[in-house]
Symmetry: C2
Subunit: 189 residues, 2 copies
DNA sequence: GTCTATAGATGGATAGAC
DNA sequence: GTCTATCCATCTATAGAC
C-alpha cells in the first residue's frame, strides 16, 4: 500500500512499542508520543489501530522473507549450510533488525480476519522457504522425520528464544542458531 | 492461598477464556458471564483481575509440575524414556488437561512484578526438572550441546505447538512428543 | 500534517441492598 | 454470595481550526 518514508518510520516505532508492551496494552496515545505527535494526528497516517498492526506485521514478515532469500542466495547448495543460513537469518530478523518480525510472530492473532487473510500469503511464502530447506536436509539424510513437523519444531525453538535470549549476552545470535542446528544434526561438525 | 472448590472452578473457566481471547482482551464481564454470575460478584472471589491471572498461572504451573513428576516416577531410569516422558507430560498439560498451563506460558509477562516473583519458584522447579532430564541424556551421550540451550530449544519447540497443533487431528499429543524426541535423538529407536 | 477538544464506548472496580 | 447501580478512568476515533 502506502509506503512513504514517514509511514515507514512510524511503523518502525510502533513495532518497538508492540514488542515492549504487547499490541493490546499499547495505546494510540503511547504510539503518538513515541512518534512526537498528538494522538489525533496519528489517524492522518493510519485509518485505525488495526492498520498500524497490519503495517508492522507486513513489514516484519516481508523483511524476514527478504533476509532469508538473501542468505540462501549467498550460501552454497550444501543442505547443511542452507539450514544453518536459515536459522541464522531467522534470529537476525528477531534480534538484530529487531521488533517487526517479533510482532508478526507473537501478535498475529490480533489481526482482524481481513488483514490476516491478506497477509497470510507472505507468511506462507516464508514457511515454504523453510520447508524446502528442511526437505533438502531430509533427502540428504542429515536429519529425519516429517518435513512439516521438523519445520515447526525448529521454528518453535527459534521463535521461543524471544522469551529468554539476551542478545547483549555472551552468545551471538549466530552462535545460537548454530547450536540449534547442531542439536538436530549431531553427526555434522 | 484460598483454594475452595468454587474458586477452583472459577479459575478453570477463566483459564479457558484467557486462552481463547488473551488476558488483555478478556473483560471481567466476560469472565462473570462464563461463570454464570454478574461482574460485581466476581470481586467477592478475587481481589482484582490480576489475582485471577495469578490464580490461573499458579494452577497451570503447579499442574505441569505434578504431571511431570508423576510421569517421571512411573518410568524407568533410562534417560531416553525419561526424556520422552517429560515431552509427553508437557504436551499433556497443554492439550489434554488444557488451558491453565497455556496461560502460564503465554501470559506470564502480564503478571505484575509481585505475583511474578511469588510464582517464579514454581516455574523454576519445573524447568529444573527439565534440565535434570536433559542432563542425564547428555551424560548418556544420547544428545549433545549445552544443557540450558537444549532445554530451552526443546521447551520452545513444545510450547510453540500451541500455535499450530490441532489435538483433534490425526496425530496424538504423545506421537507429537515422540517425533520431537526422535528429531534430537536420531540414533535411538 | 498537526493541533485542540471532545464525543462515544467500554473498561475495572466499588457500594450497599438483599 | 449475588444482585443492581454506578463511579470514574481510559481508550479509540472524529471534527474542525490552523
Amino acid at each position: 500500500m502506502n509506503a512513504s518514508p514517514r509511514r515507514k518510520e512510524l511503523t518502525r516505532l510502533a513495532a518497538q512499542l508492540f514488542v515492549q508492551e504487547g499490541f493490546d496494552r499499547t495505546t494510540v496515545r503511547m504510539l503518538a508520543q513515541e512518534m512526537g505527535i498528538k494522538s489525533g494526528s496519528l489517524f492522518h497516517h493510519f485509518k485505525d489501530k488495526q492498520e498500524i498492526l497490519a503495517a508492522v506485521i507486513e513489514e516484519g514478515t516481508q523483511n524476514a522473507l527478504m533476509i532469508a532469500r538473501k542468505a540462501l542466495d549467498q550460501c552454497a547448495a550444501d543442505p547443511e549450510a542452507r539450514l544453518r543460513a536459515m536459522a541464522r537469518a531467522h534470529l537476525e530478523t528477531l534480534f538484530t533488525d529487531r521488533n517487526a518480525h517479533v510482532v508478526a510472530l507473537f501478535e498475529w492473532r490480533r489481526l482482524d480476519p481481513t488483514a490476516s487473510a491478506h497477509l497470510s500469503h507472505l507468511r506462507d511464502a516464508y514457511e515454504a522457504l523453510w520447508v524446502a530447506v528442511i526437505d533438502d536436509a531430509l533427502e540428504a539424510g542429515l536429519i529425519h522425520g516429517d518435513r512439516f513437523l521438523v519445520s515447526r519444531f525448529v521454528l518453535g525453538a527459534l521463535n521461543w528464544t524471544v522469551r529468554w535470549y539476551d542478545p547483549s549476552g555472551p552468545r551471538s545470535p549466530d552462535e545460537l542458531a548454530d547450536e540449534l542446528v547442531a542439536m538436530i544434526m549431531p553427526n555434522a561438525v
